[in-house]
Symmetry: C2
Subunit: 162 residues, 2 copies
DNA sequence: TGATGTTATGTTATAGAATAACATTTGTTA
DNA sequence: TAACAAATGTTATTCTATAACATAACATCA
């Protein structure tokens, strides 16, 4: 996959805003955004594409920090619980939530070519799914809506599958 | 999880119909539904709940058949390619397709308590997703719509989480 | 302050899911 | 039958995630 971003660059504006937002939300809730958790969130936001847990772990180790899989999975669990990130089940990766504050399951467009992800919040989709489940007497706990395809940018270019 | 079915019972009517349907479709397409592939499909249909690849492998070994992970994954790949089964990304399990013949991504209601799955085919959902992706110039290759919750049967009972 | 309980992190080991690579067998076709 | 292609057997490895227990950091109260 042609990666659209890298991790070495300084935190982007997006990342900085996301971190500030996370700080505020956690403060509000009395949740502890520790150094480790903040750093994991920063790593996620510093990438243009969603990251797997082990990739995040590699970055932590590059930081000089000690760590093992539970280190990163626990941080991810916290961030998921706070609604600060989403997990993309189809790829086993994690991405920053563009609209934290209101917990939601999210709807994602995932580009097969560049790996970038758009997060939708189409209420009509939620409503339609809700109507369908209501009609069947099914109680919804979580929704997964992930669409794999090719983004406009990648469609412009001549197709080249790596 | 309270499993709603087991694998020991004889193939159900559903399973028999699904197998007959699969035979016909493969015949039509010149695809080879070999003993192994047919048996894997039968195992999947013989369970009231979706199965993981390694569970299927266990059953194959109980059959006295030799096998390793690639054995079952290759059969699953074939069945997926033929549109005879679906993979549920949120659970890493496989379930028989209720409407084979027309390839589709499917929409699933997954009960957290009993594990049973309903496959929807709501064209309105597809259309809405299509409208959203069209508006963004995003080319769709595959859709994942999985809803985790509690089915009507399990809602009737007093909540008991194992 | 120090004792105590709670939360977070460190650490080791293991479980679970999927694929790579190559050998062998089976089926098809010339 | 020879030659080729498709399917399966086999071994090893990679990737993802969690169990279990030890230690450290933080909060609360006597
Ligand atoms: Zn979100
Ligand atoms: Zn793209
Ligand atoms: Zn289907
Ligand atoms: Zn149920």
């Amino acid at each position: 996959m042609r990666q659209a971003g890298d991790l070495s660059c300084a935190p982007s504006i997006d990342a900085q805003q996301a971190l500030a937002r996370a700080e505020a939300l956690c403060q509000q809730r009395g949740a502890r955004l520790t150094d480790l958790r903040r750093r994991v969130l920063e790593i996620i936001w510093s990438s243009a594409t969603p990251l797997g847990a082990y990739t995040i772990l590699d970055v932590l180790r590059d930081d000089g920090r000690q760590g093992a899989p539970p280190t990163v999975y626990r941080a991810l669990d916290f961030l998921l619980a706070q609604g600060l990130i989403h997990r993309l089940a189809s790829l086993n990766v994690f991405t920053g939530c563009r609209r934290p504050g209101s917990h939601h399951s999210g709807q994602f467009l995932i580009c097969r070519d560049c790996g970038r992800v758009s997060e939708l919040s189409n209420p009509a989709i939620d409503e339609l799914l809700r109507a369908e489940t209501d009609a069947r007497g099914f109680e919804v706990l979580a929704q997964i809506v992930e669409i794999l395809g090719r983004c406009p940018d990648c469609l412009e270019e001549p197709t080249r599958h790596d």
